[in-house]
């Protein structure tokens, strides 16, 4: 499934929908498949819980981390790095982790022309059907329209990342398949996959046999969960 995706892969969605965890997993899997990979943290609206937190892990695995110059410092200015333009211009696989909502997607808009010139992208809209205010397909698709306007790019697929944090069970995930399918249908988009913590992937596969399951490792944790 990953091999069908374009070289430039953009992850957008609501705050806390699980974009960062998905982006780190995708970057790691592209790397395991033998590709040269860069992960760009384009989040300039969120101070914590972001891709730049995983710089060490990514670099150990030979993945280039591209982050705003002041990410994870106390200088909360929305500065972007020129390095992203440079990497867009290469033939490397790049995963772009965008900030939440339309506010976060505004930074992506800055790169829309460069992305089109570089051959376009796949833009995955990550949804969590348990998130307040994106619990119905109508709500989730209305947020996507705001994100598309701000980013000046169009989503090419929806990803179901429905979960309830530490209360997640296989059933919790499977219950939101229909929601994700309906959200995708609002825009005539495919539902690319349902992201599932690896320990549940077998069980969820048997619950939703006709739908793609993408096993993920949970990297984004709270200080007391480490």
């Amino acid at each position: 499934m990953l091999e069908q995706l374009k070289r430039i892969l953009v992850i957008v969605g609501h705050y806390g929908s699980g974009k960062t965890n998905l982006a780190v997993n995708l970057a790691m899997d592209f790397r395991k498949a033998g590709k040269e990979v860069a992960l760009a943290d384009l989040d300039i609206v969120n101070p914590y819980f972001r891709s730049a937190d995983f710089t060490g892990l990514l670099e150990e695995n030979g993945i280039e981390m591209i982050a705003p110059p002041y990410a994870r410092t106390n200088l909360d200015i929305p500065a972007l790095t020129a390095r992203l333009d440079a990497v867009l211009d290469t033939d490397r696989q790049i995963v772009i982790d965008v900030g939440g909502d339309d506010a976060g997607a505004a930074a992506l808009g800055r790169y829309s022309a460069a992305i089109q010139e570089a051959g376009g992208c796949d833009m995955l809209y990550v949804v969590n059907g348990y998130r307040y205010l994106t619990r119905t397909a109508a709500e989730a698709s209305s947020l996507l329209s705001e994100i598309q306007n701000a980013s000046r790019l169009e989503a090419t697929a929806v990803v179901n990342n429905s979960n309830l944090g530490e209360l997640t069970t296989p059933q919790v995930i499977a219950d939101k398949l229909l929601f994700a399918q309906e959200t995708a249908a609002c825009y005539g988009l495919p539902l690319l996959f349902t992201a599932v913590p690896e320990e549940f992937s077998g069980e969820v596969r048997s619950m939703i046999p006709d739908s793609e399951v993408y096993p993920v490792r949970v990297y984004v944790k709270k200080p007391w969960e480490v």
Partner: protein
């Protein structure tokens, strides 16, 4: 939900339809959320020109008898302190949210608990207290927002939700309480129009005669005693047989709890007292634990501020150690475990 959004939604559901704020990391999502949702419930969202303006708008709205709130992070709370004092001096209910970050000065944007002294000792000038709730989960943030508004109205005093950047930014599953918000009749004191049915109500904190001012403050402090007696809240964890007691609140208490679980596996009899209100403070619970405990450890994301209250409560009955980080560094469970082991003699 994300902590900042959850507390904002809780305030809306608690009937707060007047929000006045100013952006600052790491609480900006509170204002952003309110700006989106408030028009849909027919309320007033106003981004003020400064924190000083925002708290004074709360002062005005609270005077008119409506539920009003503001939110900020540490440097912004300092700016609000004059207004908080006026609100307390006029016996006005409101909610102030502090999603703390590192200080002093502009400090940093990472989580911190270094505003404890400010919240409990001097949220503003003068003889005053405000209710201070210290949640440790997002569910508790939601529940405490409802409670804060209710107690603020009941005792006519400002309440603070005392969170930190970690709680504001993290995600947790929550549910909103399905309860009807009690309508408070503020007609007898609020400046909301007398309708020819009563004398003018005056909202004022200036007293021309010193004895009148003293009398007003004395009456207010009698009310504070009732609050202390009825509304001090804390949680005890594995305390029954504990030889060693850790005191921690907020996000830090979650880290401590994780360390305590590991210490228990290693045979160390350690428990936790977690203040859920830091004013009023659970002095008696700690004092009682000090009758049997061998030693205490206070853990905070500060240089040791709540430590003062722990020492006052222990009152020399047992040694009190401290461990903390400041400037936005979050302690790890392993660091806390090391401190617990040291407390237990290091021979376990």
């Amino acid at each position: 939900m994300k902590g900042n959004e959850a507390l904002a939604e809780a305030a809306l559901q608690a009937g707060c339809h007047h929000f006045f704020g100013y952006p600052i990391t790491p609480q900006t999502e509170v204002a952003a959320y309110m700006s989106k949702r408030m028009p849909k419930v027919g309320g007033t969202y106003l981004q003020a020109e400064s924190e000083v303006a925002a708290i004074n708008m709360v002062y005005g709205a609270a005077s008119a008898g409506v539920r009003a709130m503001t939110s900020s992070s540490s440097p912004g709370i300092s700016l609000k302190s004059e207004g908080i004092s006026y609100l307390a001096g006029c016996d006005l209910p409101c909610l102030i949210v502090n999603v703390q970050r590192g200080g002093p000065g502009l400090g940093g944007i990472q989580p911190s608990q270094a505003d404890y002294w400010q919240a409990t000792r001097a949220p503003g000038h003068g003889d005053l207290h405000i209710l201070v709730f210290a949640p440790s989960s997002i569910q508790e943030m939601v529940d405490m927002v409802f409670e804060a508004f209710e107690l603020a109205d009941t005792y006519r005093m400002p309440a603070m939700l005392f969170a930190d950047g970690m709680l504001g930014q993290m995600m947790e599953p929550i549910s909103f309480p399905e309860k009807q918000v009690k309508p408070f009749d503020k007609f007898s004191w609020a400046a909301c129009g007398h309708q020819g049915k009563r004398k003018h109500n005056v909202i004022n904190s200036l007293y021309l005669k010193p004895d009148e001012l003293e009398q007003t403050v004395l009456e207010r402090f009698k009310r504070y005693e009732i609050v202390k007696e009825k509304h001090t809240q804390w949680e005890e964890y594995l305390l029954e047989d504990a030889e060693y007691v850790v005191v921690a609140y907020g996000a830090t208490s979650r880290i401590v709890r994780s360390a305590i679980n590991t210490a228990r596996e290693q045979g160390i009899k350690v428990g936790l007292i977690r203040p859920k209100t830091i004013w009023p403070y659970p002095t008696e619970a700690i004092s009682k634990a000090a009758d049997t405990a061998k030693a205490f450890l206070c853990v905070e994301m500060s240089m040791g501020q709540m430590l003062d209250d722990v020492r006052l409560a222990v009152n020399g009955k047992a040694p009190v150690a401290f461990f903390g980080h400041t400037g936005g560094i979050v302690p790890t469970p392993n660091e806390v475990l090391d401190e617990i082991r040291k407390l237990a003699g290091g021979d376990r």
